[in-house]
């Protein structure tokens, strides 16, 4: 990775996001460190997904800035931010229909191969691919092998040849996560990775998340399943109505009256 990895990896400083009259994210500041799982929780409409959209470049914040180590991210495109080391998954998994599971992973690996962005400049990649040079064909075969190895380590070895159209929802979640890990991110944003999964699949995802943490990835986790979130997170940031109302260890946050208030208040509304 080209980005120098420091103890503080991702910094979110004073980020606000306004949609018309609604302040979806209101002056939020926090940092995520390498090798930690940072839970982001809050009731519905707290601004969690908007925050992820701002960090990953889907939306440009109204105010504030996001940076990765010394590198500013704000204002860059999603693919540029990904090539700098910040990738994400989506609430509804995005599948590459038309490709097999193995090929989906290979797409991620190809992007990684060329310094985190595909296609590499200039049009050489196109010409080399079209002329079918031996080197390129070997490289593509290697990508397939590496994709298989990655699938095996994610416990998906049996799925390699399946068409992505044929996957069940839980399998889609796992594939999307494996695909994101294939680009070896510095920061990984997971938007409700557990929703819609059966208990077994929840365990599979949490295992992958813990493995990523061990590998030094900063994992940001938005999740509605508060129990699972508190069990896997090292620290937690709590949002309510766009504002950060608490930050700390899971046990401290769970005992925080403001947090309890926000959740109970949400249920009473």
């Amino acid at each position: 990775m080209t980005v120098a990895v420091s103890a503080t990896t991702l910094e979110v400083r004073g980020v606000s996001m306004r949609f018309g009259g609604v302040l979806a994210v209101d002056d939020v500041t926090f940092a995520a460190r390498t090798g930690e799982v940072l839970g982001v929780m809050g009731p519905n409409g707290a601004g969690k997904t908007t925050l992820f959209n701002v960090i990953s470049g889907v939306q440009r914040p109204t105010a504030g800035a996001v940076s990765l180590g010394p590198v500013p991210l704000t204002g860059h495109s999603v693919d540029r931010i990904a090539s700098l080391g910040v990738t994400r998954t989506f609430q509804t998994p995005v599948m590459f229909w038309g490709l097999t599971v193995r090929e989906s992973i290979a797409v991620a690996l190809a992007a990684r191969e060329f310094g985190g962005s595909y296609p590499p400049p200039p049009a050489r990649a196109l010409l080399v691919a079209g002329l079918g040079t031996q080197g390129r064909r070997r490289a593509d075969a290697v990508l397939n092998e590496r994709a298989d190895a990655l699938l095996a380590s994610a416990g998906l070895a049996h799925m390699g040849d399946r068409a992505t159209e044929s996957l069940a929802f839980g399998e889609e979640r796992l594939l999307e996560l494996a695909r994101a890990l294939a680009v070896e991110p510095v920061v990984l944003l997971l938007d409700e990775p557990l929703s819609g999964l059966n208990p077994e699949e929840v365990e599979d995802v949490l295992t992958l998340v813990r493995a990523a943490r061990t590998a030094g990835v900063a994992v940001l986790l938005v999740e509605h399943a508060v129990g699972e979130l508190l069990s896997v997170a090292d620290r937690v940031v709590v949002l309510d109505h766009g504002r950060k109302i608490a930050e700390g260890t899971p046990s401290a946050v769970a005992a925080d009256p403001l947090v309890i208030d926000a959740y109970i208040g949400d249920e009473l509304e």
């Binding site: 495109s77 992007a111 990684r112 595909y118 296609p119 079918g132 593509d140």
Partner: protein, 319 residues
Amino acid sequence: MSFAPANAHGRVALVVLAVVAAAVWFLPAYYTGLLTLIGIYSLVTIGLNLFMGYAGQVSLGQAAFVGIGAYTSAVLAVDLHVTPWLGAVGGAAVAALVAYVLSFVALRLRENLLALATLALGIVINVVFNEWEFIGGSSGFKDIPGFTLGAFTFDPRAYAILSWALVAAGIWFAGNLVRSSFGRTLIAISAGELGAQALGVDPEKLKRQTFVLSAVYAGVAGAVYASYQSYIDPSSFSFLLSVNFVLMSVIGGLRSLWGAVIGAAIVVALGQVLQALVPLVLPSARGDFQQFFLGAVLIAILILLPRGLAGRLSEARRA
């Protein structure tokens, strides 16, 4: 650097080329001419299928790139006495350059808007063909020199073989491309652009390169067309031709390279049949009335075979 001898697409293409090269010695001139036209249109449609079928975009302006290739080659041959072989390279280069520049505007738009933008580009470029006196304006360009090989000047048979040799080369290149990382990444952006972006894929750059490549295919086809016909005018590259290329792509099957060839053959053949039949059925019908029926056929195919004929064939093979 060593190249793959042939992928599956390339091998089949060589067989087809051999069949064409043999057939032209037996076929009446009329059918040899149709074969040449199908080859030229196939080349354009193979390029278009990369952009439409694999990258998932729509171009309604492909005829303009054919025209740019044709006019470039014609000007080079007539005014500068450049051989059509180099003219084809020049035609492809100018078409690619125009596509590259236009892509900065067009590819910022999405889906329907991109289709509309390419449609507008096609029309604007056709207006340029019409108004620019240097390239003959509306009266067109006459006496375009033919291809030569040593002392041999290409006859209709040679054009049929040339056009299908280019189809073979084009399908070989495209066949390599779609099986590579490049092709997979194209499929990925057409299925889930944001998901691919989150992995570091730059969709605009990928689409741009594919759009430019489709213009290269069209430009080469145009250069061959110009020398083959020895006469071109703006109406040869009208909006209707662009629509026909889209028809060929869709009828054959969008994510299929051979589908492009099948689609081109069907549209050309159907055009001939309709041209013969329509006056018999509707004596008062004139001009482009056959296009009306082509449209009806397209709608029928879209309803009955949403994945095109080639898609239907591969489904049947799997079943």
